[in-house]
């Protein structure tokens, strides 16, 4: 498989697949392709029915992934300004990527999900999901804005906004906490959610919170300009987004 990044501020990942090579991705990411490339749909059933319901109906993660099989080429984009990076995962190497940041992964990469617990306070973050990917294989991902990487030693820590987390090694821990904004009752009333990150391992941050981009797009897009796509998740198919939308608003803090 050959990967080439095209474009500058809204890049696409152009993937050249040999016969028998296969990649998967979320629905709706393909920009252009070889007309002869083969296309399929795969259900993500890891963890059984309980995990599927939790992941798709609560977390809004995709239930179906799109699969492209070589020979041929296809280009994928997240359609927003940012950087595209590829990463070769060693056998057993596990990383977590922010949801809706993965562009493509090769067939050998195991896909699962990872839940970051929120603080659970009323009206605040209830947590969020990340894609958990285990090698061997290659992944390509999109960071919204610029990507900033940090290699943390064991016990080394930093605090970050939850929208800033792009990818991390599985060894890096994330813990949501409530950051008061000054002292006293007013400070607590004005407090905000943040994540305490602790090494060892690598963490990459993105300089644009994708939820702010989504809010801008949803606010400005007309119905006629929305791309027509089949349902991306079981949640979408079963509930037409009602439950996901409600929980999304709760989760957005």
């Amino acid at each position: 498989m050959e990967i080439k990044v095209q474009g500058e501020f809204v890049p696409v990942a152009l993937v050249q697949l040999a016969a028998g090579e296969e990649i998967y991705c979320e629905a709706g990411l393909m920009v252009y392709s070889d007309p002869s490339i083969r296309f399929a749909v795969r259900a993500m059933t890891q963890g059984g029915i309980g995990q599927i319901i939790r992941r798709t109906m609560v977390g809004g993660m995709p239930f179906f992934m799109h699969v492209y099989q070589g020979p041929g080429y296809a280009a994928f984009s997240r359609f927003s300004p940012g950087e595209v990076r590829s990463l070769e995962l060693q056998p057993g190497q596990t990383i977590d990527i922010a949801e809706h940041s993965l562009l493509i992964a090769t067939r050998t990469v195991q896909y699962s999900t990872f839940y970051v617990q929120g603080t659970g306070r009323i009206g605040r973050m209830i947590g969020f999901w990340m894609d958990r990917l285990t090698g061997p294989g290659t992944i390509v991902y999109h960071g919204h804005g610029n990507i900033l990487g940090f290699d943390l030693k064991a016990g080394e820590a930093m605090d970050v906004d939850h929208g800033a987390v792009l990818r991390k090694d599985a060894t890096v821990t994330l813990r949501a906490f409530n950051q008061p904004l000054g002292g006293g009752l007013t400070g607590h009333a004005l407090s905000f959610e943040a994540l305490h990150v602790e090494g060892p391992g690598r963490i990459e941050l993105q300089t644009i919170d994708p939820s702010s981009l989504r809010a801008a797009t949803e606010g400005g897009a007309s119905a006629s300009s929305a791309p027509a796509q089949p349902p991306q998740s079981l949640a979408g198919a079963l509930t037409k987004g009602a439950v996901g939308g409600l929980l999304g608003r709760l989760g957005g803090g």
Binding site: F9, V31, F39
Partner: protein, 216 residues
């Protein structure tokens, strides 16, 4: 006209007009104009686009199509912006050279360029008992003259040989030559879960040059 791009990620276009030189643009996208520039209204009828054709376009749900353009007459400077992250391209069209540009991406064009809005492709999505009609609206532009347009995201250019084909998403095609065949096909998914899944795509066939953009 002399058109220059100002800025990088969300660029504006600075157009310098000589005395008597005229360009057309949608008035909403103007950022500024110098004092001496004169502005007037040019209706679609004056451009040779009939009211019936426009009403047909609008009945299909094309909200971007306006009944008139603003005409800017030099001398002076005018700047335009479509308020989006994307590349600005300036294209000089030879006499009778035609391009088809996705609707909503044109910034401005010389008065010598012939403008005609049209539907390049259409498809239907069936959701239960409901039929959703979708259209690919384009601006058909015929030279001579200069046109300025903007993509969403980056522009990827391809030159297709006769019968060479490329597949794009329905949102991805930005510009096509008149010699390019554009057809809507359904990319049917294989595999155990593939039966219910198909997505509309555009199959573009050569010869001709096309542009695809990376944003939506």
């Amino acid at each position: 006209m002399k058109a220059d791009t100002v800025g990088t990620i969300t660029p504006a276009v600075l157009v310098q007009l000589r005395p008597g030189e005229k360009i057309l643009a949608e008035h909403e996208i103007m950022l500024h104009m110098d004092g001496p520039v004169k502005i007037a209204r040019k209706t679609m009828k004056q451009l040779g686009v009939s009211r019936a054709h426009l009403m047909g376009m609008q009945s299909r749900g094309d909200n971007e199509e306006s009944y008139f353009f603003a005409e800017f007459e030099g001398p002076g400077n005018v700047t335009f912006s479509r308020d989006r992250a994307g590349e600005v391209r300036v294209l000089d069209l030879a006499p009778n050279q035609v391009v088809r540009l996705r609707s909503g991406h044109l910034i401005c064009f010389d008065e010598t360029v012939r403008y005609y809005p049209m539907v390049l492709a259409q498809w239907v999505i069936q959701r239960g008992n409901e039929r959703e009609n979708h259209y690919l609206f384009v601006d058909r532009l015929t030279g001579p003259g200069t046109i300025v347009f903007q993509s969403v995201g980056n522009v990827l250019s391809f030159t297709l040989n006769p019968n060479e084909a490329i597949r794009t998403s329905t949102e991805g095609l930005l510009l096509a030559s008149p010699t390019n065949g554009v057809q809507v096909n359904w990319m049917q998914a294989g595999g155990a879960f593939g039966g219910g899944f198909a997505q509309p795509v555009l199959d573009v066939r050569g010869p001709g040059a096309i542009m695809v953009h990376s944003g939506v």
